[in-house]
């Protein structure tokens, strides 16, 4: 598949190194044998369905109208690109992914910088900060929807009430996209924090000390030493986050049920196929998602491969 081509950019840099410990005692098949079950299983389960998606995307196929099944040419793609709902779901996916990734990266960076300092109870604070990431995503979305956002008895309005504000906004109806983004930022900030913290803690100490002795300000240390070192961790966090959040279904499904202009592509595909039974169009949308993902995946694989090369 096209993914294979896209990774070739990333793999070449690592493939230059000689393979470790060449062993000549065993025939080739014996070294390959342990790999094959996993490889074959993965090709069958993950690659064949994509081929099927590609085929179905060129078919006219509504499961409620089995007699009308046939070849559709590029009609499904035309429909996908002209359907305003599907077009807005593309925009929603981009807005949702970009805002969640950027905000949680920034918050995660701040938290990682804080946790990199020494203070009493650091381990405990770290544990508290990881907790949001370990709440099952549907459960977290349910809690945000019913327990925090609810206009009548939700915690947010309860706190407003406590603080003496009269305003009791209906969070989800007035700002649906922000509501979804906020719940996802809460879930993903710990992820970004963990990756960036690992980056900070792998930073060599000597240059920082040398810079301090030479009179560099804390800002200069961050700008010229910490940040360049963190850059690849920021990239990795951003790309992995994008890969996961582009696919997000749970939060949109739970908090707004795709309504109020928040339906993203995964939700739209789910709905087109599961509720509208438009198999052809759902597949065409799926192919478009794959095409979009390949762009992100290419960059992601490149970053992973540079870290991979460095770790060797």
């Amino acid at each position: 598949m096209a993914v294979l081509d896209s990774i070739s950019t990333g793999k070449r840099s690592v493939a230059d190194r000689p393979p470790p410990v060449p062993r000549k005692r065993y025939p080739k098949w014996a070294t390959r044998a342990p790999l094959l079950p996993a490889l074959i299983f993965l090709i069958i389960v993950t690659q064949l369905p994509f081929v099927a998606t590609l085929v179905i995307s060129f078919m006219k196929w509504n499961s409620l109208d089995p007699a009308g099944r046939g070849f559709a040419g590029i009609d499904n793609y035309v429909n996908v690109f002209t359907d305003p709902d599907l077009r807005s779901s593309v925009v929603n996916t981009i807005v949702l992914t970009a805002s969640v990734v950027l905000i949680s990266l920034l918050l995660g960076l701040g938290l990682a910088l804080l946790l990199d300092k020494k203070f009493a109870g650091r381990g405990f604070v770290r544990t508290m900060l990881i907790a949001p990431f370990l709440v099952v995503p549907v459960a977290s979305a349910l809690i945000w929807k019913h327990v925090l956002y609810n206009p009548e008895y939700g915690l947010f309005n309860g706190v407003l009430n406590w603080l003496g504000f009269d305003a009791q906004p209906d969070w989800i109806s007035t700002m649906p996209m922000t509501a979804v983004v906020a719940s996802l930022v809460w879930q993903w900030t710990p992820f970004m924090m963990l990756i960036l913290l690992a980056g900070l803690q792998s930073k060599p100490v000597e240059p920082v000390e040398a810079a301090r002795i030479d009179g560099a300000s804390p800002f200069q240390v961050f700008r010229y030493l910490t940040f360049p070192h963190l850059r690849q961790y920021l990239e990795l966090g951003g790309l992995l986050g994008s890969i996961y959040i582009v696919q997000n279904f749970d939060a949109v499904f739970t908090i707004t049920s795709g309504g109020l202009g928040t339906a993203n592509l995964p939700y739209m595909i789910y709905q087109t196929f599961y509720q509208a039974h438009e198999y052809g169009e759902a597949s065409a949308a799926g192919v478009i998602v794959v095409a979009g993902s390949i762009v992100i995946a290419t960059f992601a694989l490149r970053v992973v491969s540079s870290l991979f090369k460095e770790a060797k």
Binding site: V3, L4, I7, R32, I56, V125, Y153, I195
Partner: protein, 266 residues
């Protein structure tokens, strides 16, 4: 100065933990105390929410989730450990290409494969069948497990492996005496991370299962449109369903970053 950082960190920690703490507290309130405005902090505690959740048929979905998550984790380990061995200790030629192929499959959005997988399940009569879901979770976690296991196995010192084989140690001895002790913590962390991903999955479970094989996340979607007095119950459900993930996550805490970044960050 140091004190300010500490206070700021504690403040952020508590702020992020607050929704989790509030979820636990609400789950222990009665329904009428859970739905007050302003919130009732000091209301009497009760396990009614939990009792109601388990009485309402929560066991079958929890058992389904456990069998899909544990089953897929075992199969994934059985496939991934030999593969990782062939990618690190005794590498095949072009092993990096193979490794990056595994990774690339993880970067494809699963939603694009949803329809054909549904059609295959329908054709094979495997809709609403937990075994089918288990197999899908295997494919979802296999790339992660291969990457992770490879990064753990590559920590096995090469010199010792070579010395052992020169001294005439057989494959089994090498695996048992040299590889296993180094790899065990890695295998445990990989298993926990695969368990978490399977346990959390909603989209496939929602589309492919129904009343028989529905998993815990699918059961939770029953609360999406709930109205009236149900906050304690939904919080109890969220706590119970999240508990295995919280336990697995904290148990794997040290390796969590490595797992989530597919072994790219140590």
């Amino acid at each position: 100065m140091r004190r300010i950082w500490g206070v700021a960190a504690w403040f952020c920690g508590i702020l992020f933990f607050l929704p989790v703490a509030w979820m636990v507290l609400t789950s222990l309130h009665s329904e009428s105390d859970a739905a007050t405005n302003p919130p009732s902090l000091a209301a009497p505690l009760t396990f009614d929410g939990y009792a109601e959740f388990f009485d309402a048929g929560a066991w079958p979905p929890l058992i389904n989730s456990f069998s899909a998550s544990i089953g897929s984790t075992i199969i994934v380990l059985l496939l991934a450990i030999p593969a990782a061995y062939a990618l690190s200790i005794k590498p095949v030629e072009k092993w990096t290409d193979v490794l990056f192929f595994f990774l690339s499959t993880k970067m494809m959005p699963v939603v694009a494969a949803l329809l054909p997988i549904y059609l295959i399940a329908q054709f094979a009569g495997m809709l609403d069948n937990i075994s089918f879901l288990t197999l899908l979770y295997c494919s979802m976690n296999l790339p992660i497990a291969v990457w992770l296991m490879r990064s753990f196995l590559s920590e096995v010192p090469r010199e010792i492996l070579e010395a052992a084989s020169i001294d005439g140690a057989g494959l089994i001895t090498i695996l048992r005496r040299i590889v296993a002790p180094v790899a065990m913590p890695g295998i445990a962390a990989t298993a926990l991370i695969c368990f978490i991903f399977s346990w959390n999955e909603l989209l496939f479970a929602r589309v492919l299962t129904g009343v028989v094989a529905g998993t815990a996340p699918v059961y939770l979607t029953g609360f999406v449109t709930s109205q009236g007095l149900f906050l304690a119950k939904v919080c109890a459900a969220a706590v119970v369903v999240s508990l295995p993930v919280l336990i697995a996550g904290f148990a794997a805490q040290d390796k969590l970053v490595q797992g989530l970044s597919l072994g790219a960050v140590k």
